[in-house]
Symmetry: D2
C-alpha cells in the first residue's frame, strides 16, 4: 500500500558522513493506536518507509544532474525548499549540476521558450528571506511526453517537483512515462498546499506562516467591525475543499464569531439560517466578525451556473465572499437596518510572505530528505511528515484530501470559540 | 487670516508647572523664505499662533467638563490622541470629568440612543496598543442644533473633535451655533486624514504607519507579479483627491512600476495610453506592479453615471481598481496575450493597525496641545504641525486639500523610481 | 510505566457535548517503529494514555473549585494556557470558581501575603495578546505541607501547575502529600521550558516563538559582524542543559558560523581549539557569528569555583558568554590582531514576547486537555504532545532532560550549516 | 555664518529635467519666529541655503567620478543613503563611475589594503532591505594627507561621507587639505547619529526606526518586571551626550517609570536620591521600569578613574547600566529586600535593523540632495532638514550637539509620563 519504487540496485557508497543512516526495512507504523479493551493494535504489516540518508545510493554524484520545478500558487517556504535541495545536493552529495526550471511545467515545453537557471549555492543562499519562488511558477497541465523528452534531452537524473495535488498527479504520469521508456530519472515530490489538507501529512509547509498572517488580518477586521455602528467584518481566506486555515485561525484568535468552512453546509435564509443568526448577534453585540473559507457554501450558488475550471484543472469556485457580502447587505437593507460591512480578501498577501522560522526549518528538512530519497534511487514518491516522523509516500497517496473532522476536537473548539450554533441549516 | 477666536478673557492661573508657556503674540511666520536676489522675505504680518500651554487659562479646571468624539474612517493613532487628551486633562489640568461620545456625531443625537463613556486614565492607559477608536465612529452629518443642545445639556465646556475635513466643517457649524447661543463651549479639532492632504499641515497622524503597511503589501504584490508568467500586481490604496500615499510608498520601495494618482490624468487606450505602455513593460520585463490611488482616473468613467455621495458627503468614487483590472484583462485578452493579474485592495487592513512609535509620539503631542488650547479658551480651531512647529489654525483653514505638486521634487522622484513616462495622455 | 493515577471512580456524566470522548484503554504506542528485517515492532504493552474528554467525570462541576499557578521563568504562551484553562472550565464544564495564585508557589504561603485573583472570562479573554504571566511567577521551593494546607483551606479541587521541571518535582511532592492526607485534589501539570528539552514531549510551548525571536537577533548580529573590520557577533541564548534552541535557530538562519551547545564540549586553546578555528575563519572571511547556549562550555570554568544554585535549585551557570567575550578579546589582542566584537545577550527579550499563532493554538489545546484530565479525576500527571498525539504522562516522566543527539540528523544539519568542525577538542 | 563654499563657477547645464531648480539666493530663514509684542522677527540676514537641483552645475557628468564612504557605528538607513546616491548619480546625472570605499576612512589608507567596490544600480537596488552598511565601516581617524592623496590618485571628484560628528570633523580637515592643494574635489557629508543630537538638524536618519525598536524592548522589560516579585526592568540605550532616544521612547510607551538622561544629573544615595525613590515605587507598586541613556550619570563614577577614549576619539563612557544594576542590587540587599532585576542592553540590536518606511524615504531624499549639492560644485558641507526644509549647512555647523531642553515641552512630557520627580539630587 505504501511501497516506494526504486530505480535500481544501490551500488554506490554514500559520500555523506552520518551516524544515522536509515534502512528501508526500518519503518514507522501506519496506525500507532492500541486498544487495551480488545487487545488490538496497529498492524505491523502496514507501515511507512522512513526518510533519511541511505548508506548505499543509486546515483553516482559526479555524474548526476538534477532539476527543480515549482508549480501552482505561491506558499510561504518554496524558496526555503529550493535552497535546501541545492545546498544538500551541492555540499553534501557533491552534485554540482542543478537546473532550475522556470514557470512550472511550462518550462519543460520548448514552445514557451523559457530559459533554464543554473542553481548554485551563491545564487540561493539568501532566497529564504523573500517570499514567492525564485523559479516562478505556472498553473495547468502540459503534455507529458514532451516534458519527459525535455528531461531526457537535458540529461536530468533527479527531478524535484514542488507543487500541489495537481502537480503530484502530473508527476505520477511523468513517472509512468519515464518507466515506460525505461529512463533512469527519479521523480521526487515535495507537496505544497497552503490549505494543509493533504492526506497522511501532519502539516504542509507554509501553513504556520499563513495562520500568523490570517490572524493579523482578523485583528484588523475586528477593529473595523467595532469602528462603526453595526460593523461587520467579513474575511475570505484560502481553503478550497477544507477549512483547516479557518479553524486554526479561529483558535489562534478569539474574535471570530462565525467560521464558515467547506465541510459544514449552511443556509442563508430561514429561521436557523446564517443571516438570521447574524442579525441576532448584531442586535445583541452591535458588531460581528465572519471568517469564510473560499470553498464554503458552494451549494448556495444556483446549479444552472456552469462550473468552470481554472488552468490547474481545479473547479473554479464561485466567489462566496462576494455572495455573502451582497446577501448580507441586501438582507439588512430589507430590514431597514443600516450596517457597515467591511470586506477583506487577503489571500495574495498571505501566501506571498517569507516563511517564519518554524516553517523555514521544516522546509529545510523536507528539501534535505527529498535529496536523500532521490540519491538513493527512489522515484514516484513524496516526502512528508507523519506523526512527527519524516517519511516517504507514493505520489498517489497525497492526492486525496484531508477534511476537517466536524465531530472532532478542533471543530468543537472552533464552535466554542465563535459561539456559533452547531448547524445553520433549517 | 489665521486668527484664532477666544471664548473670553483668561483669568485663571494655569495649574501646570512649566517653563515653556507660550504667549499668543509670539508666533511663527507663515512664509519662512527669503529671496536675497530681491531682498524679499516672508511678511511678519502673516504669522501663525504657536501651540502650547498658556500661563493664564479660561476654564476653571475643577468646574470643567470635556467631551471627545471621533468621526469618519479609521486611521492609525486615534486611540493615542484620545489617550493623550484624557491624560493631559486629568493629570496635568486636574479636569476629571471627561465624556467619550460613541459613534461619532450620532452619539450626540438622542434618537440613536448611544450611551456615553466615562473616560478615565485606567480605561485609556493601554488603548494605544490597539488600532481603531475605542469610541467607535460614524460617517455623515447630523443636525447641528440638536448636537449643540446635547453638548449644552451635558454641560460640556470643551469639545474635542477628531475627524476629517467633513468633521471639521461640521465642527465649524457647531462653533457658530455655540457662538450664536453665546454658550461657553470651546471646540478644538484634531484633524485626521490618512491621505495626508490637509492644507498647512506638515503631515497628518497615521500617515507614517500607513506607508509602512502599504510597503508590506507592495512587497507581496511584487512577489506575486514575479510568481507567474506575465504577472501583474495591481494595488489600490487610499487617496481620494491626492496621491501622497502612493507617492511616499513608491519612494519607500523600489518595486512600483506605475504610480497612478488623482493629480495626473491618464488615458487607457491609444499609443501613449497606459495599457500600451504596460504592454511594452510586460514584453520587456515579464512582470509589472501598479499602484493606484482610489481617486485616480475618475474621468475614465462615463459621464452619464450619476455621481453618488457617501454618508460623509464625499462623492462616492467609482472603483478605479476594478476598472483597471477589467480593462487590463480585456486588453491583453484581445491581444491573445495571457497575463496573470493579482488584485490587492488593502485599505481596511492599513488603516486599522495601531500607530507606530513615531505616529504615537506625534498623536500624543497633538492631544496635549489640543488640551492646552482648549483650557486657554480657544475655540473654532485645530492643532497641527507646520514647518516643524505645533500651531493653531482656524477650522476653515484645513478644509481645503493639499495636492501632490506634479512639478515638484517628490513627484519627480516617483517618476524616476517607477520609470513611467511623465504623461500617459495621447 | 506510564500509568496515570485517578482520584476515584467517575460517576458524573460529562456536561460537554462531544463526539470524540476518549477511553482510558484506547492508547498510543510508546514505540511506533517496526523493523521488517527482524519482524519486530513497538510492544503494545508499552503505551501512553491519550488526552481528551472523558464521557464520565469525577468532579461535579457545580461544586468544583480550581486554581491555576505559574512558576519559574517566563516563556511565550503562559497567558494562552491560563486563558484556555479558564475558558474551558467556565464555558464547557460550567466550573465558575477559578482562583489564580499570584507569584508562583509563594502565593500559597500565607507569610508572603499575596492576594488571590478571581479568574473569569472577561479578565482573561485578551491576555494572550501580551507576553509574560498575568499571575506573575517566582522561582524556588516552598514548604509542601503549607502549600497543601492552603489548597485544602481554599477548598481547591483542581490544581493546575504551569512550570518547568523544578515545578513538576514540587507538584509531585504536593500530589504525594495530598494522597497521604487522602484529599480529593487533582494535580495537573502543563510543562513549560523554553529550552524544549523535556523527555517524551515533541515540543514545549513557546519554543517556536522563541526561535523566531532568536533568528531576528542573529540577523542583527550578522549585520554588526559585517559592519566593522574583523567583526565578530557573539550571541548567548537560552539552553541550560541542551542546545535545542541553538540548533533550531542555526537551521532557520544560514548566518551562524559556530554553534556551541552543552552537549558538545570544546577546548578554547590549542591547535584544534575554538579560538584557533575562529582565527582561521576571521582571516579567511573577515567576520564571524557565534551562537552559544548558556549551558555550553561549563567545564571551561575552573573547578575550584564553588557551584552556586539559584532560587529554583538549578545550578547557577557560570556566564559562558562573558567568558567567551573576554577570551576572544585577549586571544586576538595577544596576536596583535584588532577585532570588533559585539556581544548580544537577548534572553529576556525573547522569552517575554507574546506567543505566535502556532504556539497560541498549541497552548490553547494544552490548557483544554489539562482541564479534561482534571475533571476526569486524573492526578499527578502532565499533558503533552508525543508523536503528534496529545497524551497524559506521569509527573516524574518529564523531569529528565532530552539532549540534542549529537549523532543525529539535526546536529549533523547544524554542523553543515555552520561549517564548523565536528570536534573542537585537542 | 551658514555660507557654503563652491569649487568654482558652474558652467554646465544640468542634464536633469525638473521644474524645481533652486537658486542659491532663495533661502530659508534661520529664525522663523515673530514676536508681535515687540514687532520683531527673524532677521532676513540670517538664512540657510536650500537644497535641491541647480540649473547650472560644476561637474561634467561624463567625466565625473564619485566615491562613497561610511564611518562610525551603524544606524538604520545607511544603505538607503548609499542606494539613493548611486541611483541619483547614475540615472539622473548619468555619472556612471562610482566607487564604494570599504571600512570607512581606513579604506583610503593603502596600508590596510582594502579593495574598492564598484557601485552600480544592480548592486544597490535591494540593499535598503537589509540593515548595516554594505560598505562596512570603521571608527577612528586616519592620516588626512594620505586620504586626500588616495582620492586624488583615484581621480575622485565627488566624495560623499556618511558618518557622525567625528567623521564630519575629519571631512572638514580633508576639505581644507583639498583646498590647500587646489584640487577639484567636492566633499559632501550626510550626517548620521542615531542619538538625534545634531545641532540645526530636525531629526537624524534612523532615529524613527530606533525608537520603534526601543519601544519593543521596553515592552519586554515591562513584562519581565511584572513577571516576578519586586521585578525591576533596567534598559540601557543609546545616547552618549543627549537623552533624545530615551525621551522619545518614554513618550511612545507609557510603561517607563524612570528616564535617566545625560542632561539631568542625579544622586544614587540620600533621601532624594534615585535609589530611595525607586524603593518607594517598588513598595507602592511592586515593579519598576528604568530607562537609562548610556551617557547618563557619568559623574557617579569616581574621578580617579582615568577617562579613556575609543577609536573614534569619543570619551569611553563608563558603563552606567552595569553600575546601576550593581548599585540597585546591593542597595536592596542591604535592606534585606529581595528584588528581581532584569538587565537589557539592546543597542546593537536596535541600530542594525533595516530602516522603516519613513526613515527610508528620508534617507532617499538626503542622498538625492547630497548629489545635487555635489554636482553643483558645493563642498565642505552637509545636507540636512531644518524646520521641514532640506538645506545645506557648513560641515562645522553640525559638530556641536543638541541637548534635550530640560525646561522644554518634551522633557516635561517625559516627567509626567514617568511620574518621576523633577530632580533626584539631594
Amino acid at each position: 500500500m505504501f511501497n516506494i519504487k526504486d530505480l535500481g540496485i544501490r551500488t554506490i557508497v554514500s559520500p555523506i558522513t552520518a551516524d544515522n543512516f536509515i534502512d528501508d526495512m526500518y519503518r514507522t507504523l501506519y496506525c500507532h493506536y492500541v486498544d487495551l479493551r480488545h487487545n488490538t493494535s496497529g498492524s505491523a504489516s502496514e507501515s511507512l518507509e522512513l526518510a533519511g540518508p541511505r548508506k548505499m545510493i543509486f546515483f553516482d554524484p559526479s555524474k548526476t544532474k538534477a532539476a527543480v520545478i515549482t508549480c501552482g500558487g505561491l506558499s510561504p517556504g518554496i524558496n526555503d525548499v529550493i535552497r535546501a535541495i541545492v545546498m544538500e545536493l551541492y555540499y553534501r552529495y557533491q552534485v554540482k549540476n542543478i537546473n532550475g526550471i522556470r514557470y512550472g511545467f511550462r518550462g519543460l515545453i520548448p514552445a514557451f521558450g523559457h530559459s533554464i537557471v543554473d542553481l548554485e549555492p551563491d545564487l540561493v543562499k539568501d532566497i529564504h528571506t523573500v517570499g514567492g519562488s525564485i523559479l516562478s511558477s505556472s498553473r495547468g497541465n502540459q503534455d507529458i511526453a514532451q516534458m519527459v523528452e525535455s528531461l531526457a534531452r537535458m540529461n536530468i537524473n533527479l527531478f524535484f517537483c514542488i507543487g500541489g495535488d495537481g502537480t503530484m498527479k502530473a508527476a505520477k504520469l511523468i513517472t509512468e512515462e519515464i518507466n515506460r521508456q525505461n529512463l533512469k530519472i527519479g521523480v521526487i515530490g515535495i507537496p505544497k498546499t497552503i490549505d494543509n489538507d493533504l492526506n497522511l501529512i501532519d502539516k504542509t509547509f507554509g501553513f504556520d506562516t499563513a495562520i500568523s498572517e490570517v490572524v493579523k488580518v482578523i485583528q484588523c477586521a475586528h477593529v473595523e467591525s467595532k469602528g462603526a455602528p453595526k460593523g461587520i467584518g467579513l474575511v475570505k481566506i484560502m481553503g478550497r475543499e477544507s477549512g483547516h486555515i479557518a479553524v486554526s485561525a479561529t483558535l489562534a484568535n478569539n474574535d471570530v464569531n462565525f467560521a464558515l468552512i467547506p465541510e459544514v453546509p449552511f443556509d442563508l435564509r430561514g429561521d436557523r439560517g446564517f443571516l438570521k443568526i447574524l442579525e441576532e448577534r448584531i442586535i445583541r453585540r452591535d458588531h460581528a466578525l465572519i471568517l469564510v473559507s473560499e470553498g464554503a457554501g458552494q451549494d448556495l450558488f444556483s446549479r444552472s451556473e456552469v462550473q468552470k475550471k481554472d488552468a490547474s484543472g481545479n473547479i473554479r469556485l464561485r466567489d462566496i465572499g462576494i455572495l455573502l457580502k451582497s446577501e448580507i447587505e441586501s438582507y439588512f437593507l430589507s430590514k431597514g437596518f443600516e450596517i457597515n460591512l467591511k470586506y477583506f480578501d487577503p489571500s495574495y498577501i498571505i501566501r506571498s510572505v517569507p516563511a517564519n522560522a518554524s516553517d523555514s526549518i521544516y522546509c529545510t528538512l523536507l528539501g534535505q530528505y527529498a535529496v536523500h530519497a532521490g540519491m538513493a534511487g527512489k522515484t514516484g514518491m513524496v516526502v512528508g511528515r507523519y506523526n512527527n516522523e519524516y517519511i516517504h509516500l507514493p505520489l498517489e497517496a497525497v492526492t486525496s484530501r484531508k477534511k476537517v473532522n466536524i465531530n472532532g476536537n478542533l471543530w468543537m473548539r472552533a464552535l466554542e470559540a465563535t459561539g456559533q450554533p452547531f448547524s445553520m441549516k433549517n
